[in-house]
């Protein structure tokens, strides 16, 4: 409305006083839902995402199942109150695309061959969107899968990097996404050095892409550490009980 905001101040800090390579405050909690076989709540700053896993199971509705492996069904969905303007509940083209790339990322981590003729269902609900919802959603879904006891090659940790005012920054929020030059969500199985989600929306030189990827990897390892903490917190408490 009143023109483009300053994204990087003279002190080199971002609009919310973060350094370029600094994550937002991150919260993770595993096992937050009663009905789901696995669940997790993940917050990156004001972004708040919940994920639930059901399965392996026979799908409630009829789908073509595979005799060789579990099929994965995944929905990334935004609550009507999660966005600046109220979001219609009908799936948008954006949600259709993100459901696909998240599904493919998760599918590469799950040992689906262990569960032929069954379905693993992953439901991600964005409760509050402030940038990085797909990476927060992927991170939460991976935790929910672990919580459901579904064997995975590795957890998936994810974060978005971006380019704002020419600077490569970690974990961009919605304001930075809107006014910045590039947004690059990245998801990895960190221990296996496998990038399982990668999109670039924006313009970068070859060198900037290198810098962005390096910064993403750095952030991802931090997210990965927090994931493991959240899991051990739940399961250690169980042991203590």
């Amino acid at each position: 409305m009143s023109g483009r905001p300053t994204l990087i101040g003279e002190d080199g800090l971002r609009h919310d006083n973060r350094r370029p390579d600094e994550l937002r405050s991150i919260k993770m909690e595993v096992g937050v839902l009663k009905n789901a076989d696995g669940s997790a709540l993940v917050e990156f700053g004001n972004t708040k995402v919940i994920a639930a896993v059901y399965g392996p199971r026979e799908p409630p509705a009829k789908y073509m199942l595979s005799p060789e492996k579990a099929i994965v069904r995944c929905r990334y969905h935004m609550a009507p109150f999660s966005t600046a303007e109220r979001k219609s509940p009908a799936p948008s083209r954006r949600e259709i695309e993100l459901s696909k790339v998240i599904r493919e990322a998760l599918e590469s981590a799950i040992f689906t061959e262990l569960f032929p003729r069954s379905a693993i269902d992953i439901f991600i609900e964005v409760l509050q969107a402030d940038g990085g919802t797909r990476t927060a959603g992927l991170t939460a879904a991976s935790l929910a899968l672990a919580d459901a006891g579904i064997p995975m090659r590795d957890l998936i940790a994810a974060v978005a990097v971006g380019k704002i005012d020419g600077v490569i920054v970690l974990d961009i929020d919605e304001l930075e996404d809107e006014y910045g030059e590039a947004d690059m969500p990245v998801g990895m199985m960190p221990s296996l050095n496998q990038v399982v989600l990668l999109q670039l929306n924006g313009v970068m030189t070859r060198e900037e892409f290198d810098a962005a990827m390096n910064l993403a990897v750095k952030g991802i390892f931090e997210v990965y550490r927090l994931q493991k903490e959240a899991l051990s917190k739940k399961y250690m408490l169980y042991i203590e009980e």
Binding site: L33, A36, A52, Y54, P60, A61, R75, F81, Q128
Partner: protein
Amino acid sequence: MSVTPIQPPIPKLKREAIVSALKKGARVDGRGFEDFRPITIELNPIPRRSNGSALVKLGNTSILVGVKISVERPFPDRPSEGVLQVHAEFVPLASPSFEPGPPDENAVEVARVIDRCLRESKSIDLGELVIVPGKYSWSIYNDIYLLDHDGNVTDASTLASMAALNVARLPKLVSVENDQVKIDYGTMDKQLPVKLNVVTVTLVKIGGYILLDPNLDEEILAEAKVTVGIDSGGRIVGIQKSGGGLSVSELNYAVDTAIKKSRELLTLLEKALKTV
């Protein structure tokens, strides 16, 4: 078209346990017939994107309500009123038996029952929500999101809606000039004109017994269900019976119980709102 739902059957042992407990005047989770499950109300869990929000847990049932407010054109037949819309989504996250898709008849019913209770009781004074008659008024979207389903979604949703509406704030109205309205959606300003609070109280009938606040097993077993809306003045502001039949005297008993027990919910709500 409405079709008989095919419910996952409740194991026979569980069913017998529930019914035999009832015969002894108790419920398997230790509650009396007229007891609510534990209730928690969290205010404004969605502070950045909703104008008001609340997370209510009623036992294991978990409801998130977000209220969004924007300026829109009022309905042509109500030019001097704001608009209140209640919607509910039963997202597949909340239950193994839900599938993605447009709201099914259960979600539609919950939303419409709550919508009517709020509207008929005049809980929100819509007349205060007009900005320029016939041209601009505030539209209130009350979106009910079911996160975890363990029965009695309606009462939890009414409570969460009422809490969210109480804490909601209108965006700042910057100026009204020459039929042009300027809104600063980033700044929260005045509260909504909530004139009175409304709650709903739901009861079911199982094997001749009338129980308050059914959990999911009890709902599946129930022969009949009735939801009664009560406002802070003790008036009946809505009724919805579903499932099978009830005698007139059973209905009277249910209505009396609902009126009586509504005080607990209203007190709880008021207490929670005082913490803001």
